[in-house]
């Protein structure tokens, strides 16, 4: 079964230049539904589709086994505007 920790580790090790990763299990620990926020400057100049594709690629096997997956990707600059 997947945990928040598993996804966080996989993203941190696969996506370069990761500044922050927030993984939330929305299935109350059942490991079936995750909400993910990734902050990295690798997303600079990439549109939302390309950004999501990076994360989807990093979590290819994991996403296949779970029911729902939601992902938001920000650069450090965009993130700074969201978190005040």
């Amino acid at each position: 079964m997947l945990t928040e920790e598993d996804l966080r580790n996989k993203i941190s090790t696969t996506i370069p230049d990761v500044y922050n990763v927030i993984v939330t299990d929305l299935s109350y620990g059942c490991g079936q539904s995750f909400d993910v926020v990734v902050v990295s400057n690798i997303f600079q100049g990439k549109n939302k589709l390309q950004r999501s594709r990076l994360v989807n690629g990093a979590l290819k096997e994991e996403i296949q086994t779970i029911h729902a997956f939601s992902c938001k990707c920000y650069t450090e600059e965009e993130w700074a505007k969201i978190v005040i």
Binding site: K48, L49, S52, N56, K60, Q64, A68, F69, K72
Partner: protein, 154 residues
């Protein structure tokens, strides 16, 4: 909002769903051929309308929160129902898997505008928030014309 009934995967290949088609002409030696065939069927579905959504359930009865949210956004944006088609992947297991391979995108819903893959629910949500989606839909000329209501009343 989207009350036109062109919403089931049965439209994919005449009146057959992909699964039915596979059952009719499935032969092991035709596997490679089939996958080309399915690819073509999906291509046809994608180009069947300017705006195409592969979703779980139908626009009237979405069967997944993400599909429901996406339909809601398309409605808010004012996508012209006449330029919109939805395919219910729950009606067709073959389509459900094939569409993921086709776009190399692991989740459903999946939105296409003028044959181009736009993204899934998160991408669309965030594009709607930033105004990019309106821009894209306007450019693609798939929104209900602004004087639409006035015309109807007259």
């Amino acid at each position: 909002m989207f009350n036109r009934q062109l919403l089931n995967a049965g439209r994919l290949i005449g009146n057959q769903t992909l699964t039915q088609m596979r059952q009719t002409i499935y032969r092991p030696q035709l596997m490679a051929f089939m996958s080309t065939e399915i690819r073509k069927a999906i291509g046809d579905a994608v180009s069947s309308a300017p705006v195409v959504l592969f979703m779980k359930g139908t626009p009237e009865f979405p069967q997944c929160g993400f599909s429901k949210a996406t339909i809601g956004i398309l409605g808010q944006q004012g996508v012209d129902p006449l330029k919109f088609a939805a395919y219910n992947v729950l009606e067709d297991p073959e389509l459900r898997e094939a569409i993921k391979e086709f776009t190399e995108w692991p989740t459903i819903p999946q939105l296409f505008v003028n044959n181009e893959f736009v993204g899934g629910c998160d991408v669309i949500k965030s594009m709607a928030k930033s105004g990019e989606l309106t821009e894209l839909l306007e450019e693609a000329q798939v929104l209900v014309p602004e004087d639409y209501d006035a015309e109807e009343k007259s």
